[in-house]
Symmetry: C2
Subunit: 340 residues, 2 copies
DNA sequence: ATGAAAGCGCTAACAT
DNA sequence: ATGTTAGCGCTTTCAT
């Protein structure tokens, strides 16, 4: 059995003190080139790796950040939004040599297990809350612990909190305006959850587009899809009697649900009813017909959130950072527009 | 600012030594009930939480397990397999009060960053490799570090390694036999990657079913889909000229790709060509027509892998554990069978 | 049942 | 430029 290698032992083998070895490992400048070489040689030979936990304890830094996925994200099953986000965070973690701890909970009870972990200093140096729940109790907790964090989505206490979000209002506005330009007049909406900023803001963009084009907002053309495929399927069926000629779905997963409902009902898309979604998930392009949608840079989200968090951990947050990303209209088959 | 609470301080407040507080926190029996009460009282009042990193260093246990997603899983974008798996692991981690560190890499270069983390003792107490790559270099590394691990899927060095897998051969066999029972004779296969055990084994099950029913295996009816939707779309198109009357796709994502190709080519499913997939992803049920498939208990996978790993960490692995889960044929619309 | 003390492997301040 | 030393907060013998 190979004994555990320690700094001390490496120092012994290289004929220097443990401190010098530490300096070499951490690229501290104050080491003579010759000595550095020698130490690196020994490290190479022995295959020494620093003990990360010991390092963490001494340096008050774990090199771990947490990513917290909200409890309500049951849609994780069918909606690639979160996987995508996770991937964005993972990439940036890799690039910065930090490791990602992923937290996903199903019950409030489980969620409480987070609290010991949210100590500062402790297991994680900071966390990303992928919640976007309008009122997230975690936010208060985190602030109290002086734990660096950034939220994805726009939380209720926005001014005091660092977040990265997409411009949901403008995105939805663009989607609906596009539909109007195609000559649609009875434009329905399938809403996302109204306790999440994305749901609220997209609804607002919809209303804004209607009013700016002098269309009246008709309650009977609004249904809730809960950000889920199945929810949107039902919502679409409820909408049908009120004869919309277009639907704006507040997420692609929901647009796909609407599409399925329309297929079931044998209604032509975009012939009788046009659809625009939101997200531009990979599945959007391969739907039939391919989905016109608002592209949201999900990967960038994850990356930016991570970079922002690391920056806050490193340099502190004198003032909260608010990052809002633009969206992009992707015209495909379901809106009835001719692609130029 | 609130000073960081330590065992020492709690002991001071409760009038006992730090050791006693430690015993209370860790439910050690040797503490008088009265003292225990008093200490717990102080802990409650002060909101003390143990410093996990310090605990790890002293106890040689981090309470963190790693989940390693293979580099090749680009399909993470479109295929809910891995999200599902992650969820299974997360649930079991929560239930056992351990935290999950998620590792996803894109380049070999990134993958090397794992190695320092794979020290034992170190940041993680053990890892789950969700690879199922036939030859995974990680496996050797891990064994060398005496790092407990279990792999999901059947690795090349199976006998020495603990793994949990699904019975892919029998699953595929069942799928193809079902097709044969429906009267199909020219049954094509869209293969998954042949460097992963799932891909290899499902192909074998296919061949086995053919031979047992005295059908000859026709190379021109076999195409590679690489476990990806787009790959299967192309594969289906290549298969068409050879006039199959059925297709077994080695994953649902690929079955969906085949379905899309068939829709494009205006070929009736299951009228002209029947399809059976593999996985039973949530999307399978809402495809049109709904997908007949082989259900694979992905969530159970994650759970079992985690439980097994924790057991190995706790009790060591005198002999490797091999867990093989059964599959189930789910009959829906694409196979042409009447549902009883 | 409780306390004293050693040490886990590292970083960093201080001394040289 | 290098070594010495004092912790980081906890667990865990070993005394008592």
């Amino acid at each position: 059995m190979n004994e555990r290698l320690t700094l001390e032992k490496i120092g012994e083998l290289a004929g220097v003190s443990r401190a010098t070895v530490s300096r070499v490992v951490n690229h501290h400048p104050n080491v003579r080139a010759e000595v550095r070489e020698r130490v690196l040689g020994v490290i190479e030979e022995t295959g020494y790796q620093p003990h990360l936990i010991a390092r963490s304890l001494a340096s008050n830094r774990s090199g771990v950040i947490g990513l917290i996925i909200p409890r309500i994200a049951q849609s994780l099953f069918t909606d690639p939004y979160y996987p995508r986000l996770i991937q964005g965070v993972a990439q940036t973690c890799n690039a910065n040599d930090v490791v990602m701890a992923l937290f996903m909970f199903h019950t409030e009870n489980e969620e409480e297990k987070l609290y010991p972990i949210l100590q500062r200093p402790g297991l994680v140096d900071g966390v990303i809350i992928a919640s976007a729940q309008k009122f997230d109790p975690l936010v208060g907790r985190l602030a109290a612990n002086a734990m660096p964090f950034v939220v994805i989505g726009r939380p209720a206490h926005a001014p005091e909190v660092s977040f990265v979000d997409v411009d949901n209002v403008t995105g939805a506005y663009t989607a609906v305006s596009h539909l109007i330009q195609q000559g649609r007049r009875r434009i329905a909406i399938i809403n996302g959850r109204q306790d999440m900023s994305a749901g609220i803001d997209r609804r607002q963009g919809y209303l804004q587009a209607l009013s700016e084009h002098d269309l009246i907002a008709d309650e009977s053309l609004m249904a809730d899809g809960n950000f889920e495929e199945a929810g949107a399927y039902d919502a679409m069926l409820r909408l049908l009697p009120h004869q919309p000629d277009a639907v704006f779905a507040a997420s692609d997963a929901m647009a796909l649900g609407a599409l399925r409902a329309l297929r079931t009902a044998a209604i032509a898309v975009p012939g009788q009813i046009a659809i625009v979604g939101f997200d531009d998930l990979p599945t959007a392009a391969i739907a039939s017909p391919p989905l016109t949608t608002i592209r949201q840079p999900i990967l960038r989200f994850g990356a930016l959130a991570t970079e922002t968090l690391l920056d806050i951990i490193e340099n502190g947050a004198e003032s909260p950072r608010h990052i809002i990303l633009p969206t992009e209209l992707i015209i495909r088959g379901t809106c009835g527009a001719t692609i130029v």
